[in-house]
Symmetry: C2
Subunit: 349 residues, 2 copies
């Protein structure tokens, strides 16, 4: 746990930036008043907000830049031309050791690419992955990759399993998290070769991981395992399918409960209970996706979130820094020898 | 539309077979009294149910067999040893022209494999796909493949688009259904090579298809397009993720509305409205997945459904037969020349 925890913040990323960013800092400070922030963005634009949010203003050191990477910007262009952007400079601060981690609600692809370029990956990790929390019937789970890597081989998936397990241990505060690989069936014969090989490596290697085996799509919401490992294509589609389904259900519920006078009365009486449901499913509670596998803590906030959601993303970063997540990943990862695993796999066949 | 529509039924497939199967026939007959059924299963087991469901009994001709393919049975074993099973004989009846289509709530993998072996695929279709209806904010959509083909190339996806469009036109009664390919972003640059190539073929070929382009996971529930095309791995996971999320939401809602006396009172008052929501999301309404691309109508009912759900699966089969779905697929498909499409694609690049 560092003496003085400092986060660098991309003040200009996100739909409602910088308002929700600075208010988010204010919200986070109410819980953790000792935090310090390096705030990257346009001084003139930030000034009125900093005047308004006094607590935030006192904890922030503003680093001026007028360049912003937009959501529409192509990743290659952002990498090439974004050298003075608020996002790039905020990431640089972590690379330079000025900040312990960075939070941005900006362009996901650009954030991942720039963070990978500036911070590099942890030893042995080929590709970083995006991990986030999901609500489940049992509480919360972690899923990765959510879109950083469209194509993944078995080694990538094994690396995701190791990183996801550490993320869950620290982020969910579960002592010995269970890990499952997302597949179209729980039998060993089913699925892509990459998921079969990854399962085989996890089964035959002496890893400090409670490997559950394969899980299916409905196991995500059931909370069958603490960590769900998948490639970025499938993970991104599962994440968005779940979000879309939850929104649809919410819309139908709202429309049912306003469809008649009687329904409205019932909803009014049941309001406290319905609010609890709303709170439980509130996407802001699950805001803050982690770019796992980078040599630095990098948290992505949802672009459309508000100050409460952004404060949650800050909390995620703080928790991972305080618990030295990257050190734990390096330690666990050093225990895997892929050659050994592959040999055992071959012998086992 | 055939003069006397006959369906062959695997009476022994499904968790609650043959009870829900025969009651399902009874339910279907109340709406469509002219249907006839060939009922494949164990005569002694079927007898008491047929005695109970008189309407069904009158419309059914029982074909005795004591062999049943279980849900746990491996596909290869079912193919090899299932020659006298209720499922195989029911499919044979379609191949022999005794029935216009078959409905089974049994082992999905076995049903697809046996149906493909017995009925063969439609001209030009390499691989059949499983398609089903989804509830959306706008009504219903069709998604395929839901698990028949774990690996798909661009040609498979284009074939799915053609078949799915016809299925939606007939099944959803939409004049000119829009078709989208599931991807991790809507930009042309994103995703697997197979989805990019499939999109390119659909964009450059003169097909009678309203091709929308790429859609993302949340577009499924939004109802952005009428037909969602994807590989069987992603489709299966998206389907089950959506089911799991909807179930979780339902469980949370129920638990919220029984969490206090006040909540219970509110729920009681709003009950008619909540029942409408329940009805709208009722999976039985969406029961009946179609095995598309086979030279015969083959509908898979969910194994855990009840008689209402099984009756829906029967209705799906009847609708497709009455509207000559396979003729429409053949007609549309004949218009695609992959060579031409690929040439145009090459020129376009």
């Amino acid at each position: 746990m560092p003496e003085q925890l400092t986060l660098s913040i991309d003040a200009m990323g996100g739909d409602n930036a910088p308002d929700m960013v600075i208010e988010g800092i204010q919200v986070a400070l109410k819980k953790q008043p000792d935090l310090k922030f390096l705030l990257f963005g346009d001084e003139a634009i930030l000034a009125p907000y900093l005047e308004h949010y006094v607590l935030a203003s006192e904890a922030c050191e503003v680093r001026h830049t007028s360049h912003v990477i937009t959501n529409e910007e192509k990743v290659a262009h952002a990498l090439r031309s974004g050298r003075n952007s608020s996002m790039r400079l905020a990431i640089n601060a972590v690379g330079l050791g000025e900040a312990h981690g960075i939070v941005s609600a900006g362009n996901t692809g650009a954030l991942m690419a720039i963070a990978k370029f500036v911070l590099k990956t942890l030893p042995g990790i080929n590709r970083p992955a995006i991990a986030a929390y999901f609500p489940t019937l049992r509480g919360r789970s972690v899923m990765l990759d959510l879109g950083a890597n469209v194509e993944c081989d078995s080694k990538n998936l094994v690396q995701f399993a190791v990183m996801g397990e550490v993320f869950a241990r620290i982020g969910l505060d579960v002592k010995n998290p269970s890990v499952g690989i997302l597949n179209v069936g729980v039998e060993d014969l089913k699925g892509h070769q990459s998921v079969k090989d990854a399962a085989s490596i996890l089964q035959t290697t002496d890893l400090p991981i409670k490997f559950h085996g394969f899980v299916e799509g409905d196991d995500i919401a059931k909370g069958t395992v603490d960590v769900i490992v998948t490639d970025g294509f499938t993970g991104n589609i599962a994440l968005k399918t779940a979000e879309g389904t939850a929104k649809m259900f919410g819309t139908f519920l709202k429309s049912a409960l306003t469809s008649s006078l009687l329904a409205k009365l019932g909803a009014l009486i049941a309001k406290p209970a319905l609010n609890k449901l709303k709170e439980h499913m509130d996407p802001r509670r699950y805001n803050g996706a982690m770019m796992l596998g980078l040599n630095g803590i990098c948290v992505k906030s949802h672009g459309g979130t508000d100050s409460e959601g952004f404060a949650n993303a800050i909390n995620v970063a703080v928790g991972l820094i305080n618990n030295s997540m990257n050190e734990a990943i390096k330690e666990d990862y050093a225990r895997i020898s892929f050659e050994q695993a592959e040999n055992e796999q071959r012998v086992g066949k």
